[in-house]
Symmetry: C2
């Protein structure tokens, strides 16, 4: 910052960020002071002159979104939220940075503080999430108009964010969709953890963004006029913008600035003292001089009038109430279900569950305007497009279907961004095996309590000829272990609808719905409540003396039913339990669980994937049928036979285990 | 291809590929004819005039590597291998494309056919794997000279490969390392599965590669002269090259070419008939006219003399035998272990296992020149660099340490490429939680039987303040379910060395070694065989009447030992079993397993991660201590207390379960 009369104040304001960053990290003896100190001037300009926000109303629907993609620099956002007047974090919160129960966690967590739009830390993820927010803004703008929806999405990203592969996907998507209200401020400090960026990269980042349909501009990240000129230019351009902010990491720490030593560790008492000297910062740790605090508070009040105007407009607008409700996530999630299921009971259908999902989606997307679909270039395979969802394009933001391209990870993060923005319930498809490509996005959906639905088709060797690279084996189990994630594997057309209803009903978390490529018969032929809601239920009760309970999911429920038939014919009573969702079943009362899976009964699991994990339900004495190696390339029927997943193979082994 | 006298033959040769692709897909009624038909001319030129290979000796160490990154176009490589004279696939193999036990799987599998350098299909992965091969070539060239190592790496990539995020990481790494012997032939057909590329991308791909330090050139992918001019230019340039080959997908199928209809389904009898008409191809399905077959066979014999020359040079060269042995993976893997362990028995060490890994690596990298380390920008945290491993840079390919940059997925695939190339045993580090970023690479290591070691540090809430985004919870379990992957979690400095020895000893598969950030005491104080080799072993036998077996891994073994002490003091005999590797334990004889984990004994698992899965060893009646939610930001000690993972919390619960 230059030292003109006006900017002295801004410099001091920026130094307040620097001081808090140093103090917070020092008190924790852990954290990342370099980024907040380096980007303090840019952030000050952004929050004082550009960002539309109102700390008194953090959930204001038309606020600008700000995402700190370089999440390790969390002290930057904590300082900004505190200084501009958010109720939290308090200075006490900040002084307990990185301690148990402080909302000022090591990395920003959206569930800890109202001013945090997205959980960040895994590099590149914040930027790609912001793309989803920017899509949401344009989509809602197309539906509700400028009066109600007219905001920007701002990102601070570091070199790490720009080196991660997912940034390529995010940048490609944003450029293609011409998301002109997305502005990425790149902390171009030329330093990574290992040392200088040129240890590992020789890329011309700006040229790459140019090649992807972005507007690009450079500025001196320590010069207010230069920053403003760049931001003004970015705002004026109708493409998404990359603002390359040339900065000095750890700016203000005289002996360490400009080096990776400031990146990820406390500066130490001596260097903090030297920095205070350099910055002319004389107040005690965690104390902001009154005049500087007042200047920040004033900056924080800047948006109040704009918010009030907006509230008045929203109150008066024809679609105002609808928009507010939609942003609050208020919609009827399951009204479509009963008539849909009734029709299937009247006229049963044998279809692949991916097709069953499309059928359900026809009803869902017609009933729930907030749903917005897509696929990572597998639309015809994932069956994710419906009559209600025309493509969302740069020319038609009102569309409800995104051709995400071959960008699974970028799709997952964009969906997180839409869900976090509010007003949209995104769902998107790829093959189940490629959950591996977007696994970090799925985890972030779960961590952020974001309602995102992953439509993952081709969910077993049942996909057939594409072979081991495309056949999920370990994926169901590897997804079940992610906390807070609902993993569904429906067995027929009815269960598919039930699982969709449950995924839509749950507003505070994500779901995976695993679906078959191959046809499955309708197993549920009588009207009932949503049986999938209990996670597992008795699909067929033993006819004879019950000796065994067969537990299966998805396409293997049909096999379990056939095996049970063979067992009954051999005089062995067999229950069949369909278990579309482990998490729901685990949440049932103990009585229900005991009744379904009695302790003193042979239990058998059948799932065309890893058997590790099924001990949870069948115990150490049960039988587990599945596949504990990679798959193979062949028609599905041949594979099921080859891997021994047929009633003819399974039933005799059960009889043998029973001593028959 | 133009129709000059000379090129007619080449066109006919290319049409042989087209015919086989159509026939193979038609017979399977499944597959992807579009890409092989579109790239037939480029591939013909490459195999007839550029690629250095010898079908009679597929493992020739100095052959060019060819990677079909667009793996769905597998019929292209099957046709090429067959036509040029590899022993397999036979025409019978090809006619059984995508059937059980045919080596002509839906996607190319390196374990099925000697001429397949890498398993491909997951998009982008082949390209990023090829970067590793190209690194291996330059590294070995630096060590063994031009006489022994002097080959290129060729890639055919599709739009999908170039849209996936990992291609950004691969391209950035290749450009930075100036891998001039890497040439990527981009099948620029402007079609993806969903339709035209411009449905989802507006990127100037060539400009992006330019920005990343690549040489770029365009050609008409159906004009031999144009292709040759481009390849000549690419070879002449000392940067990695992208050759944009403008092609027509499904070229030759008159009614469907140029559309996504040719991408992923059989053309159908009528269109095949029309294509045969268009191509002037009159022979029966799977029959190649003798003159065309002869031309291809001649092209296949092109490299025999070059190979013979090379063999003579290798036989005569001072380092020839060493190189051949190294390429064959012959090295003493564990000689370093005993003296290393003896020193620790003499003088025990309390260190973090990541530090223990560094100590072991000092011995390993000094003893085994084939080891090549690296980290995704976490060198100081992963402790992966040693005195024997100076950086590998564009100026010094002989170095043995790669600063991969913030590119976890790219690192994993590059390591696969090095391992598949041969002569290198790569290991690379990131945080365990970011296994999610490179999970698809880890799966491909396992599927391809590639010896790659993933050094994954910060393996639990024990990393402390960085919080939930950085704390693995589900990761150990989610990695254990990947087939063919060895997942290690050592408990102390000795086990860490043992796990490293096992990972190095296993030549046909990958390993993950999960390591702590925090210090751990040395628990093994007596000399012994490699106890980790059994996967689990009794670290401490009950002193009193044995009532319980505590099973733990990694940092929680220390807690188990402390809990056992508390139990013994309460009069309850407790074994402590350390279980660094489930897979090895599962492979032990039943007697060993029963002895260690008796059926009629309370069993308790302690691991700072998901408890789902531990039923496998503790049964339904056992206790499982762990964490089934996301972590939190706080110092490690506070977190262990908060999550109840201390001896003081655990021991009373065990006593209670025992009715005491």
């Amino acid at each position: 910052m230059t030292a003109t009369t006006d900017s002295v104040s801004r410099l001091q304001m920026a130094n307040a960020i620097r001081a808090l960053a140093m103090d917070g990290v020092e008190a924790a003896n852990s954290g990342h002071p370099g980024m907040p100190m380096g980007m303090a001037d840019v952030a000050t300009t952004l929050f004082c002159d550009y960002l539309k926000f109102d700390p008194a109303d953090p959930r204001w629907a038309d606020r600008d979104r700000f995402v700190l993609s370089a999440g390790h620099g969390s002290m930057l956002i904590y300082a900004l939220l505190h200084l501009t007047g958010y109720a939290r974090p308090t200075i006490e919160d900040i002084s307990r940075f990185r301690r148990l129960h402080s909302p000022c966690a090591g990395h920003p967590e959206n569930f800890e503080l109202a001013g945090i739009e997205a959980t960040t830390g895994p590099l590149g993820s914040g930027l790609a999430t912001a793309v989803g927010m920017a899509i949401a803004e344009r989509h809602l703008n197309a539906n509700y108009g400028d009066d109600l929806v007219d905001h920007r999405t701002w990102v601070i990203a570091g070199d790490g964010c720009l080196m991660e592969g997912v940034n390529h996907e995010a940048v490609g998507l944003a450029g293609h969709l011409k998301l002109g209200r997305l502005i990425v401020l790149w902390d171009d400090n030329r330093i990574t953890i290992d040392g200088a960026v040129d240890l590992s990269s020789s890329e011309d980042v700006v040229a790459r963004y140019d090649a992807s349909g972005w507007h690009t501009v450079r500025c001196d990240g320590h010069d207010e006029a230069s920053i403003k000129a760049a931001l003004d230019e970015a705002i004026a351009d109708d493409r998404p913008s990359l603002v390359a902010c040339r900065t000095i990491i750890g700016k203000g720490a005289p002996n360490k600035q400009g080096t990776s030593a400031t990146h990820g560790a406390a500066l130490g008492a001596a260097e903090v003292a030297a920095a205070r000297e350099t910055l002319g910062w004389t107040s005690e740790p965690f104390v902001i001089p009154a005049d500087i605090a007042a200047a920040w508070a004033e900056a924080g009040r800047r948006g109040a009038a704009t918010n009030a105007d907006w509230q008045a407009r929203a109150g008066a607008a024809a679609k105002g109430a609808d928009f507010v409700a939609r942003m609050a996530g208020e919609f009827e999630a399951t009204g479509w279900l009963k008539p849909y299921v009734d029709a299937l009971i009247a006229e049963p259908k044998t279809v692949a569950t991916r097709k069953a999902s499309e059928m359900a989606l026809e009803a869902i997307t017609a009933a729930i305007p907030a749903t917005l679909g897509g696929s990572a270039d597998l639309t015809g395979s994932n069956n994710t497009r419906t009559k209600s969802t025309p493509p969302l394009t740069a020319a038609h933001y009102g569309g409800r279907y995104l051709h995400y391209g071959i960008r699974e990870f970028g799709m997952g993060l964009a969906m997180n961004g839409m869900a976090l923005h509010g007003g949209i319930v995104p769902y998107g498809g790829t093959f189940l095996v490629f959950a591996d490509y977007c696994r970090a996005a799925i985890r972030l959906s779960a961590l952020q309590n974001a309602q995102v639905v992953y439509v993952l088709t081709h969910d077993s060797i049942g996909l057939g000829e594409d072979g081991p690279t495309h056949q999920p084996i370990e994926h169901m189990m590897s997804l079940r272990v992610i906390p807070n994630l609902d993993v569904y594997r429906p067995a027929d057309v009815i269960e598919t609808a039930e699982c969709w209803a449950l995924a839509l009903e749950r507003r505070d978390g994500p779901a995976v719905i695993a679906l078959t490529r191959q046809n499955l018969p309708q197993l549920r032929l009588e009207a009932s409540e949503n049986l999938s809601a209990k996670g597992a239920y008795r699909l067929k009760a033993a006819e004879g003396d019950r000796k065994v309970v067969l537990i299966a999911t998805g396409s293997e429920v049909e096999i379990a039913v056939a095996a049970a038939k063979a067992l009954e014919e051999a005089g062995v009573g067999a229950d069949v339990v369909s278990m579309p969702n482990w998490r729901h079943f685990d949440a049932q009362p103990a009585d229900y669980k005991r009744n379904l899976l009695p302790a003193d009964m042979l239990k058998v699991s059948i799932e065309a994937g890893t058997t590790m994990g099924w001990e949870r339900y069948v115990g150490l004495d049960g039988l587990r049928f599945g596949i504990d190696r990679f798959g193979a390339s062949a028609p599905a029927k041949d594979l099921y036979e080859y891997f021994g997943l047929t009633a003819a193979t399974i039933a005799p082994q059960i009889l043998s285990a029973l001593g028959k």
